[in-house]
Symmetry: C2
Subunit: 166 residues, 2 copies
């Protein structure tokens, strides 16, 4: 069983991948929706945040893993030993069976079929599969996370007090 998806647009960022990867709260960029889908944006002005579903096209099949040591935490300053190996479905690691990203971006302005956004954590040229509005029901209250995750969050905050979330 297979599903075939096509891009509805592309991410455009004039920054190298490394800068985007190292950014804490993402970068500014645009989402350029293909002309044939422009009408699907009607009514989007006024949403402060959008959910961007993207296909991580730079992940090759041999990159895919079932368990990962989240590299982002190592980049933030934790040692390799401090970061546990966990199942990829418990992380946002890009090295997943289907390399799909669900990114929440700040939406600042639309110009035709171009959306200006902040907090973008996607590389230049990333194909976008879908865009959804971030509405009230997306904000879940009273969430809980496992102790291994809380302990990592504590460690990160100790070495990087500017970071509230991982």
């Amino acid at each position: 069983m297979e599903f075939i998806l096509k891009p509805i647009g592309f991410v455009r960022v004039s920054l190298p991948d490394d800068v985007i990867r190292e950014s804490i709260r993402g970068v500014s960029g645009i989402i350029e929706v293909l002309p044939e889908y422009e009408e699907a944006l009607d009514g989007i002005d006024g949403f402060s945040h959008l959910i961007v579903i993207a296909y991580l096209h730079k992940i090759v099949p041999s990159d895919r893993r079932l368990k990962v040591r989240p590299k982002r935490l190592i980049r933030l300053g934790l040692s390799e030993e401090e970061v546990p190996m966990v199942g990829v479905f418990c992380t946002d690691s890009p090295y997943r069976p289907n390399p799909i990203a669900v990114s929440i971006v700040r939406f600042t302005r639309r110009e035709g079929r171009v959306l200006y956004v902040d907090n973008l954590d996607l590389f230049d040229g990333t194909p976008v599969l879908d865009i959804k509005p971030y509405t009230f029901s997306r904000r879940v209250e009273g969430i809980e996370v496992p102790s291994w995750y809380l302990s990592l969050l504590d460690k990160v905050r100790r070495i990087r007090p500017d970071i509230a979330e991982i």
Copy 2:
């Protein structure tokens, strides 16, 4: 340009599609992850909510739209004229160019490769493409929505005071 995705599991719910469609806060069900991906769940216990990315397999290409009148609001009691036609990227309508759902479910229990969840709004048999943890950074504070959306929310709340969100 096309991307090929494969299911990593399936939704199992012993309720007819109509009951799931009419439910306000979703239903209880399970996500059965395929045996070859079970390891990718290691560490998932303790997350109270998961993000389930699913392929809406019952949507046929001729169902896809650029603009929609969100049917869910009509089912909630609004008249056809009260619900505006808006771009599909401003809604969660399933009739989108790539029929992908991003559902937030309450995760209650894991048994091997079976995840027990509540608030499920996916039909029995829906292929699951990915699972991600709902972590603190997914909860955006101070969001804004367009006036057309707020006005619909007001109307729904007037006729259905039990509904806080649409």
